[in-house]
Symmetry: C2
Subunit: 101 residues, 2 copies
DNA sequence: TGAATTGTTGAACAACTGTTCAACTGTTCA
DNA sequence: TGAACAGTTGAACAGTTGTTCAACAATTCA
């Protein structure tokens, strides 16, 4: 385990902050089954496009999703496997927590 | 990959929210080298005991840390390996992001 | 006992954050 | 061209959150 700098801790917190919101984590989970346009995600989460777009912007700035335009639609997808890994371990933690009770 | 419920997403978000704060992630990182009392952590992070105690309470409620009293001191430690795993993968994500630039 | 130390608690304040709304850009197609 | 659709943006508002402060509880030890 390497030594972490104070700067790296702050970056870590910024990364996890993005996972720590119900809307954003549902967006990320929706994208686990493949790329989707803003419209699709908005329908799936029953929210307006503006709210989704704002959150996608945050996720994109953190390199958590990527996008490509195809005509009128802009398709978003997960940008790397770490996003899936973090979600999976989080789920493990929650499920083990329940077993212990 | 199992199907997740809406309830489980909210729990996930609550879990990650705790990682998404500079103070809390520094506390968790401080505990990676072994158990420490509130006083030690407060010194290490240069913050007062009250602020640390408030955050430790949140972390404990989420089963992320556990505690034991020894005389006047209450020693906190990480409660399971998932906490370490999540931090490690987060660091990987950040470091790979930098390589790509 | 009582002073000193460690830690917890709840209220209050300031700072931050997510959603909404309205206005806007970009693309398609008739 | 211009109407229709998809998406983005910035301002504003309400709700949430982290820290501080003062008061309190628990333990030790002289």
């Amino acid at each position: 385990m390497e030594k972490q700098t104070a700067e790296e801790y702050l970056e870590l917190a910024e990364l996890f902050k993005l996972f720590g919101d119900g809307t954003r984590i549902r967006i990320l989970s929706a994208l686990r089954s493949g790329e989707k346009c803003v419209c699709d995600i908005a329908d799936e989460l029953d929210m307006n496009k503006s709210a989704i777009s704002h959150q996608l912007k945050s996720l994109k700035m953190a390199n958590m999703v990527k996008s490509r335009r195809d005509g009128q639609n802009i398709y978003y997808s997960l940008s790397d496997a770490h996003v899936q890994s973090i979600i999976n371990i989080g789920l493990e933690h929650i499920r083990e927590g329940k077993e212990e009770r």
